[in-house]
């Protein structure tokens, strides 16, 4: 085991996969000399050259489309979109081209395309630089959606994405970049998609925490443990495919469910998890399914307003207390 930051884990994975396979390239705005606006790509351009680490114009549609076309004829492009907020600028390529290319071709196309996107509010970045788009494309069949919450998963899921044959939206939470974590030494460490992990066992309630919410969830669980409430924290790791079984099994055990994500509450990814459990696991529920998420307003600039809009540890704690006290 090594210890490194979430950001380093992503960098190392890219570096290793680029060393391993000449068809792996990195394409995005300022991924070269600048080293990536979030510093993730670092010195990759000096290691692999401007040919394989391409700075692009500010042309998200062309960037994503080029990644798709390149993937169709043999490259394994990694695309970097510096803020998830900009995904709609490339909306058509993501929704109508990348997601559907394989199906429309009758299952012939192979699209080994990894789209790295940052997500979450970095703090007072306001409405166009703070969004969490994890759910925006879940209603569009054909894409896979990864939401790594630890350094090890950032590495393992990214490697799976790069070596796989399907397009992946890989969401990197800005506030996790600096978080340290243990990472396996195995140079082939890959995390399968569709396998959730229980981060903490508990009998009283199930807390599904998505991406950047994991640290907050663990903190809330700590606090609640102090009050005798044992929380089971489940990290889905990928939203598409979704590991229903692990979530349902936990709910069968705890009979209570809270879903926490930073995306807005209305039709955020938690809605699908809640709806799935309400359909397939309602029998084991002893209370309402709660969602702790951002309120349904654009992200404001003011720190005071932003804090009110975004989900906080206390929001999880309160929801848990209420739920445990609830009687159907």
């Amino acid at each position: 085991m090594r210890t490194m930051t979430y950001s380093q884990a992503i960098y190392e994975t890219m570096r290793e996969e680029m060393a391993r396979d000449p068809n792996v390239v990195l394409i995005g705005e300022d991924v070269g000399a600048f080293g990536g606006v979030w510093g993730v790509s670092g010195d990759l351009v000096t290691l692999y050259g401007e040919d394989r680490v391409r700075d692009t114009p500010i042309s998200e549609t062309a960037i994503v489309g080029a990644g798709l076309g390149a993937a169709m004829v043999g490259l394994r492009p990694i695309i970097e979109i510096m803020f998830g907020d900009f995904m709609p600028v490339a909306g058509d390529q993501l929704v109508n081209q990348v997601a559907k290319a394989r199906y429309m071709s009758g299952g012939k196309a192979k699209i080994p395309l990894t789209i790295r996107v940052t997500t979450g509010a970095p703090g007072s970045a306001a409405a166009q630089h703070s969004q969490s788009p994890e759910g925006w494309f879940m209603n569009v069949p054909g894409l896979k959606v990864a939401v790594p919450a630890t350094a090890a998963d950032a590495m393992g899921l990214l490697r799976t994405a790069i070596r796989g044959e399907d397009p992946v939206l890989f969401f990197e939470h800005k506030m996790l970049y600096a978080v340290q974590g243990e990472v396996p030494d195995d140079a082939d460490h890959a995390t399968p998609f569709g396998e959730a992990v229980v981060r903490r066992e508990g009998r009283d309630l199930t807390l599904v925490a998505i991406g950047g919410m994991l640290p907050m969830a663990m903190q809330a669980a700590q606090t609640l443990a102090g009050e005798g409430i044992e929380v089971e924290v489940v990290d889905p790791r990928t939203l598409v495919p979704l590991d229903k079984e692990t979530i349902l099994a936990s709910v069968r055990k705890t009979s209570r469910l809270i879903i926490a994500h930073e995306a807005h509450k209305r039709l955020g990814p938690g809605a699908e998890i809640a709806a799935m459990v309400a359909e397939e696991g309602i029998g084991s529920l002893d209370g309402p399914i709660m969602r702790v998420a951002a309120r349904n307003v654009p992200l404001p600039y003011s720190p005071d307003l932003e804090r009110f809009v975004l989900p906080q540890v206390e929001d999880i704690v309160e929801a848990a207390r209420g739920l445990v006290g609830y009687r159907l």
Binding site: N23, V25, D51, R52, R54, T56, P57, S59, T61, A62, V64, G65, A66, G67, L68, G69, A70, A71, M72, V73, G74, L75, P77, D92, Q93, N96, Q97, A101, R102, Y103, M104, S105, G106, G107, K108, A109, K110, I111, P141, G142, K144, G164, E165, D166, F193, G194, V240, P241, L242, K244
Partner: protein, 330 residues
């Protein structure tokens, strides 16, 4: 009979493909009326010379992206009428097993990266293929077909800028048929000469008579050679005309009969036939021989499609992912 660089074989092959495209469209239209084909058709009748001339200048391992009006492009790039007709008929034997239809026919083995239902949607994709060829040092070219209307989409601009900036081995082939659906080209673009836009992307902009298959061939050949030399992309604007409606059933209230009749006088297929006889000394019997083969091929294609099985409903779930997650509905 003029001196010519073209062999009779090549000339007849061009004519064969143009006739095949024309006949394919007419048959498809009939079979749609007859009920064999469930979906919409945007026919390219009148635009055979652009598709055939352009693809004739490409190598078999070069690639194209096509459009909603793409049957001609596909046939010209080697697509087989039987598999195309089967796809239109939504059969398992079709190019996409019935999942794609007219708008999405694809055959990677032929370098056909897909027709597209989104105007300008294929342009960035072809650009990406060209990027891969440059990266892998492969002497291959990617050609994007698109219409005049597509040149007003942002995707056109971003892709051409990227290709011009990186000197990618790409050809941007605009079929200017004067209309985008019911709106004339001069009500869509601020400029009528679309080739001038090439300057903004540091690439040559060439305008050519899109109803002259040899002119299209030459222009595309020059662009392909240029791309293979590493000198970068070219924008080709081929002036042509859509003889039928935007889609089959289009009332065409937006244009005059006179205009349409006028253009029928410059019909690329019969025009080329006349030239073959008059200018290139091809014999009538050679031509009728080709025309006979075209009819036979399409009789066979329609029969093949009609005889092919329809997909089993449950197979709709397959083809989303390349791995074990395929077929799961989560």
């Amino acid at each position: 009979m003029s001196e010519t660089p073209y062999t009779t074989e090549m000339l007849l092959d061009l004519y064969h493909q143009m006739a095949l495209v024309r006949e394919f469209e007419l048959r498809a239209i009939n079979e749609r009326r007859a009920g064999l084909i469930p979906g919409f058709i945007h026919s390219c009748v009148g635009q055979e010379a652009t598709a055939v001339g352009a693809c004739a200048a490409l190598a078999s391992d070069d690639v194209i992206t096509s459009t909603h009006r793409g049957h001609g492009h596909l046939i010209a790039k080697g697509g087989e009428p039987r598999y195309m007709m089967a796809e239109l008929a939504a059969r398992t034997t079709g190019y996409c097993g019935g999942k794609g239809g007219s708008l999405h026919m694809t055959d990677f083995s032929l370098g056909i990266l897909g027709a597209n239902g989104i105007v300008a949607g294929g342009i960035p994709i072809a650009t990406g293929a060209a990027l891969a060829f440059q990266q892998k040092r492969e002497p291959r070219v990617a050609l994007a077909f698109f219409g005049d209307g597509a040149t007003n989409e942002g995707a056109f601009h971003e892709a051409l800028n990227l290709a011009g900036l990186w000197k990618l081995p790409a050809i941007f082939f605009c079929e200017n048929n004067l209309y985008g659906e019911g709106t004339p080209q001069d009500k869509q673009a601020a400029v009528t000469d679309l080739a001038v836009r090439a300057e903004g992307y540091a690439m040559p902009g060439v305008t050519v008579d899109g109803n002259d298959v040899l002119a299209v061939y030459e222009a595309t050949k020059t662009a392909a050679d240029r791309a293979r030399r590493g000198d970068g992309p070219t924008l080709i604007v081929a002036k042509t005309y859509r003889q039928r409606g935007h889609y089959e059933g289009d009332p065409m209230v937006y244009r005059s009969r006179a205009e349409m009749d006028d253009w029928k006088q410059h019909d690329p297929v019969p025009d080329f036939r006349v030239r073959l006889l008059a200018e290139f000394g091809v014999s009538e019997s050679e031509i009728t021989g080709v025309e006979g083969r075209v009819q036979a091929a399409l009789d066979e294609a329609v029969a093949f499609a009609a005889a092919s099985p329809k997909p089993e409903p449950e197979t709709a779930l397959a083809g989303v992912y390349a791995d074990t997650h395929d077929g799961l509905v989560f």
